[in-house]
Structures are given as C-alpha cells and as structure tokens.
Amino acid sequence: MWAAIAVFLVALGSLVFHLITPWWSTPIASNWGSMDLTIDITFWITGVAYIVILLFMAACIYQYRNRADKTTTSPQSNHKASYDPENKKLELWLTVGTAVAVAGLLAPGLIVWNDYVTVPDDAVEVEVMGQQWQWGFRYPGADGKLGTTDARLINADNPFGLHLDDPNGQDDILVEGDDLHLELGQPVNMLLRSIDVLHDFYVPQFRAKMDMVPGLVTFYWMIPTRTGTFDILCAELCGSNHYAMRGLVVVEEKEAFNAWMAEQQTFAQLRAEVEKNAKHGSSLALNAVGAVPVDSVVAR
C-alpha cells in the first residue's frame, strides 16, 4: 500500500517540481532557440512516458498487492497471479509505439544538428585560444582572413604562434587579458584551439559548446541575438584551476563594436613595437606568455 502511494507521489512530486522549478535555462542570447525547442519536445514526449509508466506501476502495485483476504482464482490452488508468458501482439504494439516516439525525438535533433554543423557563408571568423587557465581571442582584421598558426612558434613575443611570413596574419587583431567582443546579429564562426590541454568554450546563454583540442581547430557557429555581457566558462576539465578559467563576452551594436575594434592593435603593429624595443635593448622578459598585454609593458 505504502509502496503504491510512494510511487504515485514520486510521479506527482516530479511533475510539480518541474512545473514550479525556479531553475531553468538562462534567457537565450543566440540563434539556437531550436535547441531549446528540441529540449521542450524531448521533455514532452519523455515526460508523458515517465508519468504514464509510474502511474501504471502504482496502479499495479495497488491492485495486485498480496492481501491475505484476497480470494484465490481456484479453491484448490493458492494462486493469485495469472500466468501468461507472452503476448506477441502487445509486445509488437509497444515496440512500434516506442519506435515512433523515438523517431519523433531524433528527427528534430538531427535537423538542428545539421544547422549546427553547417556554417553559413556570411559568417565571420573569430578565433578563441585556450590555455591553462585563460582565454585569448583573435580577429581576422581588414582582410577577413586569419593568419595560419603553429604551436611550435609560440613564444613571449608571439603568443598565438602566428607564422611571421603569412600576409593574412599581419592585420590580425590579437586580444589578450580583455573581453571578447561580438557584433549583434552578425553570424560568427568561432574557431577554437588550445595550446596545452583540452578546454571547452562555453557561454550558457549561447547554448553552443565545443571542446578545444591541442593540435586541432574545432568550431561552432552562431548569431548573437541580444546585447549584453555574458560569462565565458571552461566546460572541459583542464586541471587545478579549471573552475577559475573565466572570461566575458560583450555583445554590442555594430557602432560600438567597430569603435572597440578600432582601438585594438594588429599583429604587425605588435611586431613593430617588439622590434623597436629590441633595438632599444629593453627587456621583454617581463612579458610572460600573454599574461600582460604588450602595450602595457611599453607604457611602463
């Protein structure tokens, strides 16, 4: 008896909790509302199945629980249960019904996934580089093309490991120790890489997520749909300070974005300063890998 009530209450309690929970997805700030929609569809289909199964069990336990006074089916036997090893028809219908429900879950999932892995032609590229335990960002600059990189080239003067002779890299905008800025409504293809261990570029409001793997360039694309400042978290365990690997992304209108971009230095400008300082004999040893922007050293 108690067991039947308990099963019923678990079903009811789960439903009520789901309806009144204060903990739910953060307001979305990207074009991936279709992910939220797929989650909703999944919730409906599986939620109904869950409640139905639990209520059926509660009813069975209530109805067929062993009671001392329950009359048996035959005065000579002590059977109270029925014996029916198989019911092919019922099993077939359950199989078909489940298969249909599963297809209903899978179809929208695959459609949205196709969108997720198909980068639109008008997406601009932005690189995010992860290292223990900070983020760096790189924009393609005026030519719209990111210069090629190699982890072997990384040193204090070249924190992103750009090929010095690649013309596409000269106008790249390098951002370290600062926020990532994105333009509202502009499709962007986030190119993700790491120079040490696995990281994962995760902004909850964007919904999208992808690991950053040393030796690979991974990607996801999205459109920022809401201005504001959002947290960047690392979502793949990356060592002791994984929890502290944070950053901020600022989504702003085109004008503000362009104004911010105009203040940034290109790779060529940074190289020029490095060479100028080298001639003047000033030490760059202070400048640990990207921890301090190069221009702040110069200002000193």
Partner: protein, 594 residues
C-alpha cells in the same frame, strides 16, 4: 513457444561426459583464503568491492561538502577536490560495480543457477580474485604517493592527465593506469570462466532459453567486458608510455605555461575514442546484470512469470551488441568530425527501443501478479523508477543537439548517477536481501531493511532529480567552486546545500545496511530453505548455504524454465525447474482431464 512451455516433457538424455573431479581443499588456507570454490571467491570479491566502495562513498561526502558549503571546508583545495572526484568515479564504476556484479554475483550465482558444481577453471578463478585485490591495493597506494592520486577526472583525458597542471600527474596517474591494467588482467581470467561455464557446464535440460535472466544478464555483460576492456588496456599502456617514456601516442605539440614540450604528433581525440569504446559498453557491463537480476526479483516476488521472456533475452543480447556502436555519443562536443553526430545519435536512440521494452515487460510482470512487497520487491520497483528516469535523460543527452547545451553540466552528473549509479546499486541491495538467506542461512533484519530502503530510495531521488535542473541553468560539472557568475541564481547554492545534506543522510543509511549485514550473519533469524519459494536451481540445493560442489551426488535435471509461477492446474504457486513433471502436484479436478 517450445522453449518456454512449462510442462512439455522433453526427453532428457543421459549425461554424456562424466563429471570432472573437483579440487577439494584440505587446509584452512586453501578452503577460506586461497580458495578455488566460486562461492568463497564471490564473497572475497564482494567484500573487497564493498570495502573500496566505502572509500568511494566517503570521497563523495567530501565532494558534496565542498559543493554544498564552498566556504566552510578550507582543507579541501581545488586539487584535492579534483582528486576526490576522480577517485570516487573510478572506484564506483570499475572497482565496486563491475567487480561486484561480475566477480561477486557472477561467481556466486552462475554455477548454482546453471546447475554446475563450480566454475570450469577454478584455479584461474582464484587467481582472478588475487589479481583484482592487487589492482585495488595499487589503486589505494596512489593515495599515499607524492602528489597524491590522479585528479584528471575518471575519464583520464590526455594531455591534462599527465601534465603538471593537473594534480597527481606524476606517480598518481601511473599507478592509476597500472591498477587498471591489473584489473583488466584479473577480470579477463574471471570473465573467461563465466562465459565458458555458462556455455559448457549447464546441467542436463538447462537449455539456453531456460536460463534465468540473471545468468543471461551476467553472461552478456561478461562477453561485453571481454571485448571492451582491451580498448582500455591498450590506452592505459599507451598513456603510461606517454607519461613515463615521453612517447606521443596521445600528445600533440604542446606549450605548457610558456614552455615548449617535446611531445608532437599524437591525438587526444584518439584516446577518447579508445576510452569510450570501452566506456560505453562499461555502462551496460553494469546495467545488464542489474537488468537480469531485477527481472528475477520481480518474477519471484510477484509470483508471476517474467513477461515476455524471449523478448527479454533478445533485448539483453541486442542492447549488448548495440552498445558497441554508440560510444561516440560521449564525444559530441569533443571536436571529432561533426558528421559522426548523425550516426551516433541515431544508433543511440535506437538502443532506447529494446531498453524501453524491458521496462514495459517489468511493469507487465507486476500487472495481474500477486505482489509481495518484500524488501527485494521494493528495491526492484525503485530500480524501475530510477532506471526509467535515468534512461529518459539519456534520450536528452543521446540526441546530439540536445547534448550540446547540457554536456559537461550537472545534468550529465545527475543522469549517469541515476542510470548507472543509483539504479544498479538499488538492484544490488535488492539482490543482497534476496540471496542473503541462501548465502548465510539467515534473514536480514526487516526493520533496518525498511529504514535502509526508504531512506536510500527517496533520498537518492531527492539528490539527483533536482540536480538535473542545475544543469539546465548551466552549472558546469567538476567545478571546485562556482563563484561569481551573472547567470546562476543564489537559490542554486541553497539547492546544492540541500543535495549535500540529502547525500549525507543517504550515506548514513548505508552504514545501517552494513551493520545489518554484519550482525545478521551471526544473529539473524534462521531462514527456512527457499524462503521466497523460488523456482531456480540455486534454491534447490540440499544444504543452505550450498556446500562445496553445490549439489548432491547427482546434479539436478531441468525440465522447465525458471518462471513457472502460478501455473494453472498446479496446487503450489511455483514449480522448481528440477521437479519432474510427474511429481508436480496438480489440482484434482484437472488431473483427470490430462
């Protein structure tokens, strides 16, 4: 219907091969310590698994203390927290659940249930346990080396597992990998035994389609393990080489804290493929024995045949086969080729169909049954609820695009704890309450058992059900501290504190359970033989607990499947597998008509 027809008298031929002589222990040492008796080995496996499992339990408390009350416990550093997380996960998945289901229940139940005197290779079986114990000791030793145990997460992903930014990246990770390799060696010896015993040592009349589902579950899980563990074995060896000799199987060019390392050309994603090629079947290595055992618990205690036996068998086999083609659903956001997502999402959701059918058949076994709400039955019901819950959230995470926002959040933590932590453990508890009288001849204390059940089931549900919603908020997993964010409400902290309190209470209930076992072994109520009136062979032995060699001079002969409960026309509501059809007591009126 041939195989499951209960009363069809088939000709049972004479034994074709004489029985093999058993090894008979002559000394105390060979009888109880270096024993070759599967029942003793089972208890050794179980005792060791539970002991290391308790370490895992304590680690989970420490973790929860940090998550629930991040300011209070200054001794828990970020490094220590990651080490707790890692060792808790590895201990629970491998050293507790795998060892307990296969080494523990497998050893005890397979020979008895198939009607064999012992495993076919008793000596190898003994060595299997001692290698397992060695693996556990190596694992424990990693707590005491400089730098402590590895804190790389139970997935041990390189490069971080062997780089200096991760705790335990020196001796800790190497000991972890050595321990895993030893575990696999030990398991392989035991596993070959279980498979060959099921295939070759079944008694006369025990066809494959008459095996209790417990045996089917353990058998199939063992086959999976024999095929899956080698992938972990090679990755453990390769990572050991990367760590100790500086090879680059999994290591690309790396700049670590500004310093160029000598690695180059390896692939971290390759490790993930190898790990999950093992890791996903591992889920079913734990789940399939639980599926099998819970089927038997439900059938016995509902006094009713398991519904759709053949479907249940084929579902176990089908799930086992499918589990080898879904592994990359753990890697949707790993950076592998994104087009893999289409394939692995499809295979993953297909696996839901046989799994759902098993759930339907369990509930349909309750339907029109005669449900005795004993402790094993209560745990079986709780298993169905938690398993369905965890299975459903698996449909979220398996559906590639839904996984994107939820992966690496607390939703994942809640999902896998519900489906492969809570659900199988509830089956373990049910199985212990069910078979304790067979193993000891005594019953467990009922009052303590009721307390244990209600606190464990409801408590575990309260821990993990709300935890999913933290994942929707976007709370990431494996975070020592969330700290300041602009999207996580303060109420999430209260929820975390609540979950911690619930975890401590559930943990306390396990202490009661252990106490119940320890006292009941000596002082428990003496059990009658076959107290649950079960049909399968392990309850038909002449002595309880079964003696060396399990059965008397003659092995039992099997005439029917294990689910002849409440068969129409019989007086008793159960007919053991080995009762000759002529000896079944039939109802008078119907007897004349036969």
């Amino acid at each position: 219907m041939v195989d499951v027809t209960p009363e069809k008298v088939e000709y049972v031929g004479p034994a074709e091969v004489p029985e093999v002589d058993l090894y008979h222990a002559k000394t105390w040492w060979t009888k109880y310590v270096f024993s070759q008796d599967a029942k003793v080995i089972a208890i050794q496996y179980s005792g060791t698994a539970v002991a290391i499992g308790l370490v895992g339990l304590v680690l989970s408390w420490l973790m929860r203390l940090q998550l629930g009350f991040p300011e209070f416990f200054s001794f828990i550093s970020p490094d220590l927290y990651l080490q707790f997380v890692t060792m808790h996960g590895m201990i629970m998945v491998i050293y507790l659940l795998t060892a307990l289901f296969l080494g523990g229940f497998g050893n005890y139940l397979i020979p008895l249930m198939v009607g064999a005197r012992d495993m076919v290779f008793p000596f190898v079986n003994m060595v299997s346990y001692w290698v397992y114990l060695l693996a556990v000791l190596v694992l424990v030793s990693s707590f005491f080396v400089p730098g402590g145990p590895t804190g790389a997460g139970w997935t041990l992903y390189p490069p971080q597992a062997i780089l200096s930014g991760t705790p335990g990246s020196g001796a800790g990770i190497v000991l972890m990998l050595v321990s895993l390799a030893l575990f696999i060696i030990g398991f392989t010896m035991g596993g070959l035994n279980y498979v060959v015993t099921v295939l070759q040592a079944r008694t006369r009349g025990m066809t494959l389609m008459r095996l209790p589902l417990t045996v089917w579950g353990i058998f199939t899980a063992t086959v999976l393990a024999l095929l899956a563990f080698p992938a972990l074995f090679v990755s453990a060896i390769m990572m050991t080489l990367d760590s100790v000799l500086g090879t680059s199987f999994f290591m690309p060019a790396i700049v670590e804290f500004g310093e160029q390392l000598q690695y180059g050309g390896g692939s971290p994603v390759l490790f993930q493929h190898l790990f999950w090629f093992f890791g996903h079947p591992e889920v079913y290595i734990v789940a399939l024995p639980a599926f099998g055992i819970v089927s038997d618990l439900l059938s016995v205690h509902a006094r009713r045949n398991i519904f759709g036996y053949r479907m249940m068998v084929w579902a176990i086999v089908g799930i086992g086969a499918l589990s080898f083609v879904v592994w990359a659903h753990h890697m949707y956001v790993s950076g592998m080729n994104p087009y893999f997502g289409f394939f692995f999402a499809t295979t993953t959701l297909i696996i839901a169909v046989p799994t759902a059918l098993k759930v339907y058949n369990w509930t349909l076994t309750l339907w029109r049954g005669d449900i005795h709400l004993t402790l094993p039955m209560l745990f079986a019901i709780a298993f169905i609820i938690t398993f369905v819950n965890g299975g459903i959230t698996g449909l979220f995470l398996g559906n590639v695009v839904v996984d994107v926002p939820l992966s690496d959040t607390m939703f994942v933590v809640a999902h896998f704890h519900m489906v492969m932590g809570v659900a199988p453990i509830l089956v373990v508890f049910g199985a212990v309450y069910h078979w304790f009288p067979l193993m000891t001849g005594r019953m467990l204390n009922q009052a303590m058992g009721q307390f244990h059940f209600w606190v464990t089931f409801l408590g575990a549900y309260l821990i993990y059900f709300p935890m999913h919603y933290l994942g929707f908020v976007g709370v990431p997993r494996r975070y020592w501290e969330i700290g300041e964010t602009n999207f996580i409400p303060e109420s999430a902290e209260s929820l975390n504190a609540f979950i911690t309190v619930a975890a401590l209470v559930v943990g306390f209930a396990q202490v009661v359970f252990i106490y119940n076992i320890l006292t009941s072994i000596f002082k428990g109520k003496i059990s009658e033989r076959n107290p649950w009136k079960a049909t399968s062979l392990e309850w038909q032995t002449t002595t309880v607990p079964p003696g060396h060699g399990n059965f008397d001079d003659e092995l039992p002969v099997v005439y029917r499947w294990a689910y002849s409960y409440s068969v129409p026309g019989t007086v008793d509501d159960y007919t053991p597998q080995n009762v000759h059809p002529d000896d079944v007591v039939k109802i008078a009126a119907e007897q004349g008509g036969d």
